[in-house]
Subunit: 251 residues, 2 copies
């Protein structure tokens, strides 16, 4: 028996932003592993099996999914956004590397998706129109000192910054400290975008200057984008402003 | 008459990776502005009008599209990948900022898509599974010295690097120089992924160590991903290796 494992992303949450390729993989999957709220976005048939787990249990979920595939099942591992950006594809790879030899013989496929920063950026205009980076603000799996060093380095290098995992109940102070560090490098007028659940009914979207960026504006589902010194705001009558980073850059 | 302007991305090229949201925008569009090869990916009806231009004429194309929308047309501006990543959304914003006041009253919508680095990363495994950045290697719109400084800064900060616009006929030496700079910072064993036209019939995909990364492996349609010191390769019998960046990082 040879199973297969496909790792998909549901996009930012709007069902119109999930790729046809991912939808087809969902249609042919037998067992679905993922964080409960992501699995909730799927409409599964009675013959399709749902195995939900908590969002702190990624490596155990990865091993369970690989085990099911190695027993012959058609397995679908479900992430939000893109499965390769701070999500399940890396956890599956880690589990393969440290797991039994048979897992290396499995057919494993990663299907790309629309990651959260792209949806938040599209909602704003084009803040990622020039050089940018994506950093996870979670110090669960890396030391906080490293995060501080990276924030400083990328801000000084002039990159726009997309922050994933900005805040959670277990990590209440990190985002405020991150803003403090960025205010040491960037002007207080730098645009900051808080994009939460973009494209979903509970969407929340706001643009504020860095000097007024407070962590209370973010939750676990928020992608925070901090502009560079080049990022600009175009005011528009009766509409949200356009925020964008020009294609050209000064030294 | 009030026109509207929607900016879409076709994804990396595989039609199964274009979002239903973008497909719906194509179906309702009247005038389509874009680089010829991207417009070629669309199947337009006889009543839909195609206005192709060269890929070095982005700002003129943006102005023409805004002008058409301001005259009442339903305009669709077409990028490859995601329209917000080194693509048309920023050019449209620039044109709005410097254009007539009426353009600020237009309904402008950016629809996110699957950008090239996500497709190349998915093909490889999960090289963008940890902190990463996207840099354009084109010095058409920024000084080369700035690109060199950014390459050094992000490599030293431990970010995985996705390079867009790595090479062209007019920019023949930049990628080789970029690799040389990265070899001064990163081990020669660092995995480098060349992902060209991923998901299309003319796909080309290869993983080599940084010490053997040559610019001849890239062309305009290639996304080059350079790992960090943490990025790992899992060899698999009879299959491409999995390349991934673990979720945890050492200082």
């Amino acid at each position: 028996m040879t199973g297969r494992l496909v790792i998909i992303g549901t996009g930012p949450g709007n069902p119109e932003q999930i790729t046809p390729e991912a939808s087809a993989a969902i249609a042919t999957g037998e067992q679905f592993f993922g964080y409960g709220p992501y699995l909730d976005r799927l409409t599964l048939r009675p013959d399709q099996h749902r195995i939900a787990s908590d969002n702190r249990e990624e490596i155990d979920r990865a091993r369970a999914a690989l085990d099911a595939a190695s027993k012959g099942a058609s397995v679908c591992v479900v992430s939000g956004g893109d499965p390769g950006v701070f999500a399940m594809a890396a956890a599956i790879c880690e589990a393969v590397e440290t797991g039994p030899e048979t897992w290396r013989r499995l057919e494993i496929k990663v299907l790309p998706g629309v990651t959260a920063m792209l949806a938040a950026a599209a909602r704003a205009g084009a803040p990622l129109g020039h050089d940018f980076c994506a950093l996870s603000l979670s110090d669960n799996l890396k030391p906080w000192e490293l995060i501080e060093r990276r924030l400083r380095a990328v801000a000084e290098a002039g990159l726009v910054i997309a922050l994933y995992n900005p805040i959670s109940k277990a990590r209440p102070w990190q985002l405020a400290t991150g803003f403090k560090i960025l205010r040491e490098v960037l002007p207080v007028t730098t645009p900051v975008i808080f994009g939460r659940a973009i494209g979903r009914p509970d969407e929340h979207f706001v643009v504020v200057p860095l000097g007024e960026a407070h962590q209370q504006k973010a939750d676990m589902a928020t992608c925070v984008i901090i502009g560079s010194t080049q990022t600009r705001i175009i005011d528009r009558p009766g509409m949200d402003p356009l925020v964008y980073s020009p294609r050209s850059a000064e030294p």
